[in-house]
Symmetry: C2
Subunit: 365 residues, 2 copies
């Protein structure tokens, strides 16, 4: 158990954007809201998953929909509290703590805001160890934990409660509702026991985000190479280094789909990498070697000089970037995990190969 | 207070289809389900609105979506009970009785099925005195009664609860959810007190449907003119008599929109009437005189020989029909009522004129 203050918040926001693997949105608005809540109510308690009693009720809290919408449709902060309270009421029980559904830019911040406002702890875990675009794509689904009862709320005051027969139906209904709500909504879902949390979540993801964020921010201040700093903290591989020469993006069913093309320089001179994405980066394709990394492993694009993670909606011609490959949590590498978030689910007819297998031992840290 | 048995059910189904004014769907599936429930659990108690205690909780029950979908996607009967129970649980109180949201073909039957199955009475009233296509189009909205908390359920077992800021938002969310559920869903909504029911519903609509249905069915058996029989029971006017020569229909946002053209014969020889509809018949337009009837008054198309009411999805070339105009309940003629369901709401730039004003005293009964 420890406390999370304003400075920690900044580190978590940057690190979670790296783990977002292109998705999860720019945490700007989320960080402002969480900062304000911490300023008003004080630091947030971060619990290790093993500190949570087995019979405690944990309710993850998150934003759903397009992060880009948030910039113009700013949450008032009451909707997520309303959603959280509505679900507690429906369950007839108060939550012992909240947690992140995903470790992406915005959704690393939302549960911190909830925790600060309600005076409850946040648990050092999440349901992905990264970001993914759909509701059912969490490790809890592998464990048979239902996404519902779930609540969904907008800034106008509308609140809906869902009880669905499986987590794919939760995704379907909540996606339509989010569109009706204007493209973004606040949600509380996957209510679970402490025992379930210990078994079916990704442990330590808040700490990991913080560690990555701290490494990047320290390197910047000390004029060191931020990419090297990141790779000292997490196991990962440099997949590519180059300049973005093309970005193709279209919105399909509320998702940002597209690809970006990067032309290499230095040791990657003369090579070209294509990254395809659906909110998150899905596959990295080398012109000669084919797919060199794929979901569920993390494909992260970082600006070369500052180490700033670039989300898929932030990709622009001319950016000089590093592309990193990070191994995903082990739960995603099970047959059940790959069925939920493997390359085939996203329409790629390739077998998943763990990134450290592709990169042998040579680049491994 | 009286009991409704199987024979009464048949009369109500036919009469409610007349009051459906082209909408409300073919009651076939609904009548089968209600019949089965009455056979299994016994006759249903019909209460006069004035017999309901002021502090009693009344929950209307209904089908939402396209009635045509029901023919292939047959309800299993559990979804409406599930929806009803979920709303009771959410409210923390058992319903004293149920009632019809609208007096259309299917939705006259759904609450009878619920009442029989749960062993509670049905109240002799509804929220329209006819059928209308949207959730907020009930007399309860005029009285400021919220459509929510509302529950919505499908045959697969999904149940959603809505708490919206107004009844237009209820319509918006539940329409999307109904589409996701496959085009039809079962709903429980507008929970209200006995005192609210007395003031803001249309009284006597079940009895009126029964009276009309009995008149038509008796006339058929006795080879009398069913149209004359109907006009003996209710105040109404013959707007037209002729043959359907064209039907134009398209589905827009889950609604059946279109128009039918009828060429007159007998006393209407040489004349042509166009009826435009959105699920329900909205306006009747005479080639020379212009709009001769409009919402909220009822425009009903009945087959000439049998008096069988024809819903808008049942309109076909060649049918010989009577078009009747029936005055709507007085609540719809208030400024608030006309704002909700007047011709302007449906996009017609005409002032509403009560049908008995248009038809003077000459045809009035």
């Amino acid at each position: 158990m420890r406390k999370i203050g304003l400075e920690d918040l900044r580190n978590i926001a940057v690190g979670a954007s790296v783990l977002g693997a292109g998705g999860g949105g720019d945490p700007y608005i989320g960080r402002l809201m969480a900062s304000q809540a911490i300023e008003e109510y004080g630091p947030v308690t971060l619990l290790d998953p093993l500190e949570v009693p087995d019979d405690a009720l944990i309710i993850p809290s998150a934003m759903m929909g397009s992060p880009t919408v948030l910039v113009e449709k700013i949450p008032n902060g009451k909707e997520i509290i309303g959603a959280f309270r509505a679900l507690e009421k429906h369950l007839g029980k108060k939550a012992y703590a909240t947690m992140a559904a995903e470790e992406g830019g915005i959704n690393s911040m939302v549960p911190l805001m909830v925790a600060a406002t309600l005076g409850i702890p946040i648990v050092d875990c999440d349901g992905m160890g990264r970001a993914f675009p759909e509701i059912q794509m969490v490790t809890m689904t592998i464990g048979g934990i239902s996404a519902t009862p779930m609540s969904i709320a907008d800034e106008k005051g509308n609140i809906l409660l869902l009880e669905t027969i499986d987590n794919l139906w939760t995704e379907k209904f909540s996606r339509s509702i989010t569109v009706d709500m204007g493209g973004s909504a606040m949600i509380a879902l996957y209510p679970m026991s402490g025992a379930q949390l210990k078994k079916w979540t990704v442990h330590g993801s808040v700490s990991q985000a913080e560690k990555i964020g701290l490494a990047i921010r320290s390197a910047r201040k000390q004029k060191r190479n931020p990419i090297e700093a990141v790779l000292k903290e997490v196991r990962g591989f440099i997949l590519f280094k180059g300049k973005i020469v093309d970005v193709y993006r279209r919105v399909v069913k509320g998702f940002a789909r597209g690809r970006t093309i990067i032309d290499g320089f230095d040791e990657f001179e003369g090579k070209r990498l294509t990254i395809e994405f659906q909110n998150e980066n899905l596959v990295a394709i080398d012109e000669v070697r084919g797919v060199i990394a794929s979901v569920p492993d993390l494909i992260c694009i970082l600006e070369m000089e500052t180490g700033e993670p670039i989300t898929t909606e932030g990709l622009k011609y001319g950016y000089r970037v590093y592309v990193l490959g990070l191994p995903c949590p082990e739960l995603w590498r099970t047959p059940e995990g790959l069925k939920l978030v493997g390359p085939k689910y996203f329409g790629y007819n390739v077998e998943y190969k763990p990134i450290e297998k592709i990169y042998g031992g040579e680049l491994e840290k």
